[in-house]
């Protein structure tokens, strides 16, 4: 297969990621409805697909209001940061052999760094809104995302040990014989939980927590700025799902079908899993969330790393 020019890949991936993120709103609503014995949006266009378009027209027509008491620069910057950081991570994702914007040799670290930067968006939004609910949401987001980032990185180190590289391309290629879900099942679970917390998805949507904090960190946002937070959130889900597929389920690898199709098949499986979590699980209390992160999941991640390291040292040939 001839690999396309990076610029072509870049435009295609950018377009695809943004379309996917907005399409996910429809996908999530339909899927949630499916699990709740309803139909979901099915009126606008075939299967309600044009609902997204209708919502988009509506949100563009909304007043884009900046509260007079807000810190203007940070307030306007915050929604841009989340979209930019998440989109930057898409640059290192290998969708198929050759379909990648930049094959960094430290792609995994780049992904972790970008997801760490994402927290600034939430914290700035919460702080600049000058609203107690926003601030509470921002504070929760800071604590939650920083705590879960710690073992998110650690849970991936097992994969890195097995593959012997930080390059996502290399990690996918290292799974030719055995997907890393088998030797790294604990790592997968930890990464999935951390991914839920990183994207602030239910059940870990404490920064937003509609039932407690109005709308959390984006209480004061309206119009397309509010929309950007949503696009950022859905981009985040797509990113984490893609990372799960790449790191643990062999990325584009699979028999028969073309690699790109395999990749998207896996991607949609995990997107659905994210939505299933939302349909099924209640939100934990904040102290429980922090206790799990530091007292349960971090030691587990360390243990996983320790055992994986020992086994790799004992059985895998030196490279």
């Amino acid at each position: 297969m001839v690999s396309p020019h990076p610029l072509v890949s870049l435009l295609a991936i950018l377009l695809l990621a943004l379309t996917l993120a907005s399409g996910l709103i429809w996908f999530e609503r339909r899927l949630l409805a499916w699990w709740q014995d309803r139909y979901g949006p099915n009126r606008v266009g075939p299967f309600g697909l044009l609902q997204v378009l209708a919502d988009m027209i509506k949100i563009f027509a909304k007043e884009d209001w900046v509260p007079p008491f807000a810190d203007k620069v940070a307030f306007i910057l915050a929604p841009a940061i989340i979209v930019v950081t998440v989109l930057l991570s898409f640059a290192v994702l290998p969708f198929a052999p050759g379909v990648i914007v930049s094959d960094l040799n430290i792609a995994l670290l780049f992904f972790l760094a970008m997801s760490s930067l994402g927290v600034y968006s939430i914290v700035l939004a919460g702080w600049s809104s000058d609203n107690k609910y926003s601030l509470l949401g921002g504070m929760r987001a800071a604590a939650q995302m920083l705590s879960y980032e710690v073992f998110m990185g650690l849970s991936l180190m097992g994969v890195v040990l097995l593959a012997g590289t930080f390059s996502l391309n290399g990690i996918v290629r290292a799974q030719r014989h055995l997907w890393f879900i088998v030797p790294q099942f604990a790592g997968f679970l930890l990464f999935f939980i951390a991914g839920l917390a990183e994207t602030r998805r239910l059940p870990f949507d404490l920064p937003e927590a509609e039932s407690e904090l109005v709308a959390g960190f984006h209480s004061e946002y309206s119009g397309m700025k509010f929309g950007m937070f949503f696009v950022g959130e859905y981009l985040g889900i797509t990113l984490i799902s893609a990372m799960i597929a790449i790191l643990f389920f062999g990325g584009w690898l699979g028999p028969g079908l073309p690699p790109l199709l395999w990749f998207f098949l896996k991607l949609f499986c995990f997107l659905s899993l994210f939505i299933l979590m939302r349909a099924a699980l209640p939100r934990p209390r904040f102290d429980q969330l922090m206790a799990w992160a530091w007292k349960l999941l971090l030691p587990l991640a360390l243990l996983n790393l320790l055992v994986t390291g020992a086994l790799v040292l004992a059985f895998l040939p030196r490279r």
Partner: protein
């Protein structure tokens, strides 16, 4: 821990259960015959208006949505000159139907009365009058009421004895 997994599995299985949503415009809801919906004015089996413009419905109406004006025709029969129901106020309580002495005003199983303009929700008499007797097919108020109107004297109603002659003693 097991509970969480169990919950996720149970929610997943819900995808394969029948939907509870009724796709409303395509699958209309069943409305029982005694449903309190759009108000109508019914007619006698003979085709005359049943309403005798007694104002009871307008008085009993808790939201004052009924307006009418009584008048009389040449035969001495009362009827409303105009009869107006403002459905943007109506709460479909059915008190008017209960109060009506002649079964003229009735509520029907129909609620699809959406309008783009509020003014269109004000129904005049010609909008309210239907061609038939509604829920009470055989009933004709003027035929059973002991009232004298043109073409019918006292004592000529159905099941009505001729009036007693007060000036004689014989039974």
């Amino acid at each position: 821990m097991f509970g969480i997994v169990r919950t996720i599995w149970d929610v997943f299985r819900h995808g394969f259960q029948p939907r509870v949503t009724r796709q409303y415009p395509e699958q209309p809801a069943y409305l029982p015959p005694r449903w309190r919906g759009r108000i109508i004015l019914s007619r006698d089996p003979d085709g005359g208006e049943r309403c005798v413009a007694c104002y009871l419905c307008a008085i009993v109406c808790p939201v004052d949505c009924i307006a009418l004006q009584a008048t009389e025709d040449a035969a001495g029969r009362r009827y409303p000159e105009f009869f107006r129901i403002n459905f943007s106020r109506c709460i479909f309580c059915g008190y008017c139907e209960d109060a009506c002495p002649t079964y003229a005003i009735q509520l029907t199983p129909d609620f699809e009365m959406s309008e783009f303009r509020r003014q269109n929700l004000v129904y005049e008499k010609e909008d309210l009058l239907i061609s038939g007797p509604g829920k009470y097919p055989g009933y004709n108020f003027w035929r059973v009421a002991g009232v004298k109107i043109g073409g019918k004297d006292k004592g000529e109603s159905e099941n009505e004895a001729p009036p007693a002659d007060l000036r004689q003693l014989l039974p």
